[in-house]
């Protein structure tokens, strides 16, 4: 199942494996609003309304539950289906589309009522300190903590959950997760699915039958998604819905199963593992919050769970601090914990832009990022950058984010004058991946090393070179400073060896630091060696072992034919070179494979060890029959039959008792801007979606509200094979530019007829933010869908273009608003209500007049679209 992903176009190299699976008999189903190059080679394309995937997947869950098509033995043993919730929990079924704990005034959930029911709580490992002596957070402080978004923290494990809740393995208790789930998804009937998603009931039935028939003891089904799922105001819950389905069908931790998140470009996975995100530290450790994690002890107490490998948060955190600050980090000074910055709220890229506009954020580094084209509400991005003191752009070429001050769209409209822009822009040419050593981490969590093929030309330098030498120079300037605020910089370990005429830092030395070492400087081989006393240093605990024995493991390239089918000797995957996560679930509770056909790891009773084709993702010598004592904590508290070792209860979560800002179960909410009312619930939108109000970021009225008919169509943005993201790596190259030489929109013949759009002519697409022009491709591949009895036309917008380069055009992101998923702060660019009209857009100030006229017609005010 490929859904929310155009894998063939956006991941053509990885797609070779889909084609190989197909050649071996796999059935490929593509669910997508558009018929793409992926659909062209799929066995079935299911056209779906953009923004309706939860309804679609919820329908499959309902089908599996009501037709007894789930994998019962797996569900009872390995998921939290049997877990009983407290009487305080109220579902969307009871509360008109919101969950218990909803604070409508502050648009936040109190998650207390979502917890498991249970007896005595195990002491959390971290609660060795007098955390309870600390004054409790005020309500306002608590809200700030929640807003900073803890969804990504702890990886998939989420926040603390009760490790030993009450259960009912008959799954009949009215408050057990299984029964809650059944009631919750009962309204996602095939008829409702058809009404909401536009997928005909017969097509939907075929998908349900295919997916469930291909799951169970002998068969597994895999899901593939990309930003078609994530870029929504309910993006995280899209993936949650798939996770519930895959857990019910027994498709997690087993070969041929899983949910593959295809990343947007090379090593995006790496950039969350070793994050470029504001709210996590390497290895998914939460970034400390100013109001919750004052010192190391309170941090550990708050972030450690009682059971499983997150019980060792202290070991991971202390080792990280030791890798940052080396000898300066001691037990006496909390291992320099106070050197870490603190969160005071959400500091995502979009809040940062508003802070730039407000004059609070003064400087900006762009490493291979082109927000003037690639980020939502591109105008706001440029206005933010125009209000900085300084801006550093590191890229291959003069992208729009480097030149907006002289030739950006706002110069033409008169909104900005070059002479008035105070931002000092530094453009520093960057080296390409072929010009530097380093690693890529792919969607399988596999690190693969790449070596310098050619030296960078001219002034181009690697990002590593830039970061290292910038740090070195700053440290030189600060040397001798007595100012305490300079200590975090001066105490950093910053001693990477450099080589060659460019003084290039050794990437392998960085890998060595990430891998970690003991007090003798010997490389570590596993995160289980990490210590809390400061005797180990490790830059990212999940990457520990990547340089085991001092060998660059990601550089291994043993051909597949010279090893088994799991190919563990090609590259290196975290954690501990395990290729399939939670693979203990590929064996039954007794440790035997669910079927020979799907055998992956199993318990060897003679050797008293887990063994198999893959490295077992489990405690190597833990017998399947092992049950922890009541007082056991941490890793010792993991039962021999609990495969999900990162979860606080060892189970796959059908119901998420903690960790998600917008509810323990997924709910179909309409996008921020939708022509339709929510047919499934009274609640129109995700009530806790993040709204960033700004005069430059007006929202449109939705479904049935006065003025919503002004924007009757739904636009969805995407990529083409021929270009790369915001175009910096493709629009400037002749061989790529000529393959897709103009920004275009894709529309159905029906929409073309309705709006008078001419094939290969021009169209103007308008939202409350901006208007853009595009060439028109009229194609049967765009099909109108029937939603709620009405025909909906969708408009396809590839987002690669901007004003610079060999092929130039308007940026689709000019149209997008900033209404974000509350867990991960991602923009909703996959479903945007819009209008489309024939002809080119107005030039100069007349463009602003056009947008204002739309705002007036739709009756848009500062309040529009901001309701919970």
């Amino acid at each position: 199942m490929i859904q929310g992903s155009n894998m063939a176009e956006c991941h053509p190299v990885g797609f070779q494996w889909v084609m190989e699976a197909k050649a071996r008999g796999a059935t490929v189903i593509h669910v997508d609003p558009r018929f793409t190059r992926t659909s062209a080679v799929a066995d079935l394309h299911v056209p779906i309304r953009a923004g309706a995937d939860i309804a679609f997947l919820g329908g499959i869950i309902n089908y599996a539950l009501s037709n007894e098509k789930y994998f019962r033995d797996y569900v009872v043993a390995y998921t939290n289906a049997a877990t009983i919730l407290t009487e305080d929990y109220a579902d969307t079924e009871d509360l008109g589309g919101v969950f218990s704990g909803f604070d409508r005034e502050h648009r936040l959930y109190d998650m207390e009522s979502w917890r498991y029911q249970g007896g005595a709580v195990r002491p959390a490992v971290g609660e060795r300190s007098p955390a309870e002596t600390r004054a409790p957070l005020t309500a306002a402080e608590m809200r700030k903590v929640r807003r900073s978004g803890r969804g990504e923290a702890h990886g998939s494990g989420g926040a603390a959950a009760h490790p030993d809740p009450d259960t009912d393995e008959t799954l009949t208790h009215p408050r057990c997760v299984f029964q809650v789930l059944k009631r919750h998804f009962a309204r996602y009937t095939p008829e409702q699915v058809a009404e909401v998603t536009g997928v005909p009931a017969e097509t939907f039935r075929q998908v349900c039958e295919q997916v469930t028939a291909n799951s169970g003891r002998d068969r597994t089904t895999a899901f593939v998604y990309s930003v078609g799922w994530t870029q929504h105001t309910v993006g995280v819950q899209y993936i949650r819905t798939a996770a519930i389905l895959q857990a019910l069908l027994g498709n997690m931790g087993r070969p041929g199963g899983g949910i593959m998140a295809l990343r947007g470009h090379a090593s995006i996975q790496g950039s969350t593992d070793i994050p470029t995100l504001f709210d996590i530290l390497p290895g998914y450790l939460p970034m400390p919050h100013a109001h919750g994690n004052e010192d190391l002890e309170t941090y550990i107490a708050a972030e450690t769970v009682a059971k499983g490998f997150w019980a060792n948060t202290r070991e991971y955190m202390v080792s990280l601090l030791k890798s940052y600050w080396g000898d300066a980090a001691t037990a006496e000074n909390d291992f320099c914990y106070d050197y870490l910055p603190r969160l005071t709220g959400s500091h995502s890229t979009y809040e940062t832009v508003l802070a730039q506009v407000a004059g609070e954020c003064k400087g900006y580094f762009l490493f291979g990022q082109n927000p003037a084209v690639g980020s939502a509400n591109a105008k706001l991005q440029r206005l933010g950058m125009a209000n900085l003191d300084w801006l550093v752009v590191r890229d291959f070429t003069l992208i729009e984010s480097a030149t907006f001050w002289q030739d950006g769209p706002e110069i033409e409209t008169g909104e900005l004058r070059t002479a008035d822009i105070g931002t000092e822009v530094f453009f520093l040419p960057a080296a390409a991946h072929t010009e530097k050593d380093g690693s890529f981490t792919n969607t399988q969590r596999m690190l693969q090393w790449h070596h310098t093929a050619v030296e960078p030309s001219g002034d181009a330098r690697s990002d590593l070179w830039f970061a290292y030498h910038l740090g070195r120079r700053i440290r030189a300037k600060l040397a001798g400073s007595g100012d305490e605020t300079d200590r975090p910089i001066l105490d950093l370990t910053w001693d990477y060896p450099v080589a060659g005429p460019l003084a290039e830092p050794a990437a392998d030395a960085v890998l060595a630091e990430i891998n970690g070492w003991d007090s003798d400087g010997k490389p570590l081989s596993s995160y289980t060696q990490l210590a809390a006393d400061g005797s180990t240093a490790c830059g990212c605990w999940i990457y520990c072992g990547a340089r085991a024995d001092g060998v660059n493991q990601p550089a291994r390239r043993k051909p597949g034919r010279e090893q088994n089918w799991v190919a563990n000797e090609w590259g290196w995957a975290w954690p501990a070179n395990r290729r399939i996560l939670y693979n203990r679930a590929s064996a039954d509770p007794d440790g035997k494979p669910w079927s020979e056909r799907k055998a992956l790891v199993w318990w060897d009773a003679d050797k008293k060890r887990w063994t198999g084709h893959d490295n077992p993702d489990f405690i190597a010598d833990r017998e399947p029959s092992y049950r922890p004592g009541k007082d056991a904590t941490g890793v010792a508290a993991i039962s021999g039959a609990d495969p999900f070792i990162m979860q606080a209860d060892g189970k796959a979560w059908l119901f998420a008792p903690a960790g998600l800002a917008d509810g323990p179960l997924p709910v179909h909410y309409e996008p921020q801007e939708s022509p339709f009312p929510n047919l499934l619930y009274d609640q129109q939108h995700n009530p806790v979606r993040e709204i960033l109000a700004s005069p430059r970021n007006r929202y449109q009225p939705s479904g049935g509200q006065r003025g919503s008919a002004v924007f009757p169509y739904v636009a969805t943005t995407y990529r083409l094979t021929e270009h790369h993201t915001a175009g910096g790596m493709s629009r400037f190259l002749p061989y790529l530019a000529e393959l897709q030489p103009a920004f275009f929109c894709e529309v159905s013949p029906e929409l073309a007829a309705e709006r008078g759009l001419e094939h290969a002519g021009w169209a103007t697409i308008v939202t409350a933010r901006n208007a853009i022009e595009a060439r028109v491709l009229v194609t049967e591949r765009m099909r109108p869908v029937r939603v709620a009895g009405q025909v909906l036309h969708q408009v396809g917008l590839p987002y690669h273009w901007g004003p610079n380069g060999l092929t130039a055009g308007d940026a689709a992101n000019e149209l997008a608003h900033l209404s974000l998923d509350p867990n991960v702060h991602i923009q909703e660019v996959k479903a945007l209500a819009c209008d489309i009209r024939p002809g080119r857009r107005p030039r100069g100030p007349a463009l602003l007049d056009l947008v204002r006229s739309y705002q007036r017609r739709a009756g848009i005010t500062a309040k529009t679209g901001t309701e919970a």
Binding site: F15, M19, S39, A40, D43, H45, T203, E738, A742, E780
Partner: protein, 303 residues
Amino acid sequence: MAHAASGPGPAFATGPADAAGGLDPAASSGYADHPPRMGFFTDTSVCIGCKACEVACKEWNAVPADGLDLTGMSYDNTGALGASTWRHVAFIEQPAPAVPDSVLPDPGGPIAGGDGVRWLMSSDVCKHCTEAACLDVCPTGALLRTEFGTVVVQDDVCNGCGYCVSACPFGVIGRRESDGGAHKCTLCYDRLGDGLTPACAKACPTESIQFGPLDELRERAAGRVTELHEAGVSDARLYGADPADGIGGAGAFFLLLDEPEVYGLPPDPVVTTRDLPRIWRHAATAAASLAVAAILSGAWRRP
């Protein structure tokens, strides 16, 4: 570079046979001991239209970019093969055939519904014909048959006369305005000599473009057609694989999912020089007469 027979003449009226019973063009061209005939099998049923072949070809062969025109022909902005396009991916949007082109295993049964659209993609290339008209008509010997049985233009010999352009039954070869010469796919002759796979096949992520000894490719292709027929894809057929066709079989042949015309390929290509032997006999007679006359007149003697 190996010397090869070229130029006009009844080159392939008779000659050594290859394993499939077709003509062995390298042997016919005078290579007594030569490697197996190499070619492409382009299986369009697995093409995802990524155009990596087009880019890899241009990168390796330093073929210039040739224009930023939005053609409006689906995702095909390349248009056609030519002097600066040696691989061209065609995109054909059409109503889905009445018979579903795929069959799902039970319990789903044959896929019904869908959305009635089919999107065919096919990477076209020089056919490296067994009977190559371009080579037949070339007056300078710039076009040559290689030891691999492929057909290559030598840039430094080509005088830009353009005879080959009109002779090609597929419209593959073209003259480039910037240098006046004729250019087309060389099947990466330089890479072949080093035992490397041609750039396009190397870059193809789905093995839609397969490179290898032609005999093996033909065998593999026949198996693939059978496989597709068994899977219910009754329209699958080979194009250019038959040594008995009008060009003696192509060195680069295709698996198509529809009539060749749909892809912009001639349904029944014939070597345009088929009638040349007869024409040349007349021409030779005339030339001989002229030569005799010249000798008799002593015009060839230097003073």
